[in-house]
Symmetry: C2
Subunit: 381 residues, 2 copies
């Protein structure tokens, strides 16, 4: 086990009817900007619940934070927030709305262009931010990270802001989600766990068990959600799992982390607009296969504990674990091959070029260079 | 899944050499009271590390917080703290020192007798408190609870204070612990998990997996620690598990909780001075056996997942799960029968009387009355 420091101050308010608690959770007198994505919250009743709970506050609404939130949109929100002297932010939506609002929270206290905050990697100060989560996937409701896109250059970068003060998670808000959003969210959650797990065995036994526990939950609930998306308990399991997959709880013990699948996935989103969770489902089996040597022991543990794979040679068991992973993503209704999305050699060459140009190398061993990324993507054609 | 609210603000600072961070973690200018138990921290070097790190602070030492910290001792600490105008507390020791210091943290802001705070169940205000943990067991380093004894009446009650601001956990501080303290700590951790787990299956799948994960870790590491208590990685697993067993992380999803084994155990400590973890090892198999009907489904899940018990009838598998639990405690070197400690019918009658007199009933179904406590204890003769 390695040295580590852990602290997660976000207050998690979880369950049916909890949106009404907004009134007592936000300090009185605050000037609140409520941020939204598209109009789905108007159809599913969330908008009404939020507005009812905030009757006693001065509120300003900012609409239109898009999937893969863009600096182009967020600059407008920062400008509006400064004009309105906003001192509390409430993000209502999924990970994109929350991530975008994290940049607003930093931008309101920054004099220059907010893109500079993204490229610096870290906000130097933020306005308090809370969330009402409607799409389980990114974990952004209980962590300080955010990913922002810049459309004019087809770029996508992450940066660190502050933890939300509180986050309200009502599983009923997920009943009306489009089926593909649920599939992306489950894939995203699964891969968040894998990025913190699939390195080497036993740095922390408990962390290994906890990561496997979330994976087993996802595998258990996915077909039940497929059959009935209005099953409260299953959507609650999904919602809680998504938060726990990326709030630091399974990263204690200083466990090594990978994140190369995410880094490659971000490029696929930036270049082709594929949903984030979808890109991960495509890339992860390739990462496992190309890095099968350095990750082999952990892939075997994963195969045995999560998929109950015990027979066959070492290489056969690794193949089987990769196969089961890909099949799980396919069972969600996702494509898992670049060719199925019309993506080919040209994109692979461009991603290799970008990684090489930036001089980056990802993964727990910093072995995923542009060349290795090309191998991983070629494996997914 | 049930509605729940979760927040745990404690900063966990974990690993070798981390005690030196005290200097930067405590706000400068604070008047610090450092609290200790006996003198073991002088022998193992912890005292020296703490004092070195606090050279820049005004400090007062309070020594002698005993196992099962007593109101009689703590009243003296509160008096000293008020005289010295203490505005920061640093508990250096195990759960007893930390629990006692939680009462000091409340007593410093309270005009009456601190025992009134304990009996009220909740502190109304506290002075900031941090900890350097040296004995993994109670989880007190990352939760707001504390248990205080009153020797003059042989009573023991819990109350709620505030979360420690930060806690430093250096596994090397545990190398020199007496063997029986390690055994008590492992038993305590095991039963903390069981109190939050052994009710009904599947209220939260992930929480079930996480609870089982800690139990599996403990079962895995206990014999390795028995062989070599200087194994850093094993003691680190133990230390982290003890914190995670009682910091709220495995109680999300509003999972039902039991705690009747603790309530009965507290009486055994109050009446006979048995160590807390030891009382739990004695009582738990009885709780499982007497409540085998209401807890049966969960005992079967526990038996199958944690002990790999799959053969036999339902009742046989339950018996086997109880047997394995008792054998685990015995493998730690603990006695698990009242008779082995010279405790008999007289104590059982007294505990039944106390529960009846207080009109209490414990457990997730409030079924553990004085009468049921008598049955549980009789099962452990």
């Amino acid at each position: 086990m390695y040295n580590f420091i852990f602290q997660n101050p976000t207050k998690l308010i979880f369950g049916k009817g909890m949106i009404s608690r907004l009134e007592s959770e936000i300090p009185s007198g605050k000037r609140v900007m409520i941020t939204f994505g598209g109009g789905s919250v108007k159809k599913n009743g969330v908008y009404r619940q939020v507005k009812d709970a905030l009757k006693g506050f001065y509120t300003v609404e900012f609409w239109g934070i898009e999937p893969n939130p863009s600096i182009e949109t967020l600059r407008k929100a920062v400008k509006l927030g400064k004009t309105e002297k906003i001192d509390f932010l409430l993000a209502v939506g999924g990970g994109s709305v929350i991530d975008g609002t994290k940049l607003i929270s930093a931008g309101l206290l920054y004099d220059g262009d907010p893109w500079e905050i993204v490229r610096s990697g870290k906000a130097s100060g933020t306005v308090p931010l809370a969330t009402v989560l409607t799409l389980p996937a990114t974990g952004s409701e209980m962590n300080p990270g955010a990913v922002i896109s810049r459309y004019e250059t087809n770029e996508k970068f992450s940066f660190g802001a502050d933890y939300p003060v509180f986050s309200i998670l009502d599983p009923e808000t997920t009943f009306s989600l489009p089926k593909n959003q649920v599939a992306y969210g489950i894939a995203d959650t699964f891969v968040h766990v894998m990025e913190q797990y699939l390195t080497v065995p036993g740095v922390s036994r408990t962390m290994d068990h906890w990561a496997e526990g979330i994976l087993e939950t996802l595998i258990d609930i996915a077909p039940k959600i497929e059959r009935n998306q209005n099953d409260y308990n299953m959507m609650a399991e999904f919602m809680l799992s998504a938060t726990l997959a990326l709030n630091g709880f399974i990263a204690m013990g200083g466990v090594p982390q990978d994140w190369s699948t995410h880094m490659i996935g971000h490029e696929l989103t930036a270049l082709h607009g594929l949903s984030h969770g979808h890109t991960l489902a495509i890339v992860l089996p390739g990462t496992m296969n190309i890095l099968r040597e350095s990750k082999g022991d952990k892939i075997l543990q994963y195969g045995q504990r999560v998929w109950k794979i015990t027979g066959g040679s070492r290489e056969e068991r690794i193949d089987q674990a990769i196969h089961m992973t890909e099949q799980f993503f396919r069972s969600l209704g996702l494509t898992t091959r670049l060719g199925e999305e019309g993506i080919g050699e040209k994109t692979i060459v461009e991603i290799e070029r970008r990684f090489n140009e930036r001089g980056v190398a990802f993964g727990e061993n910093k072995e995923v260079t542009g060349t290795v990324a090309r191998k991983i993507l070629t494996d997914r054609l």
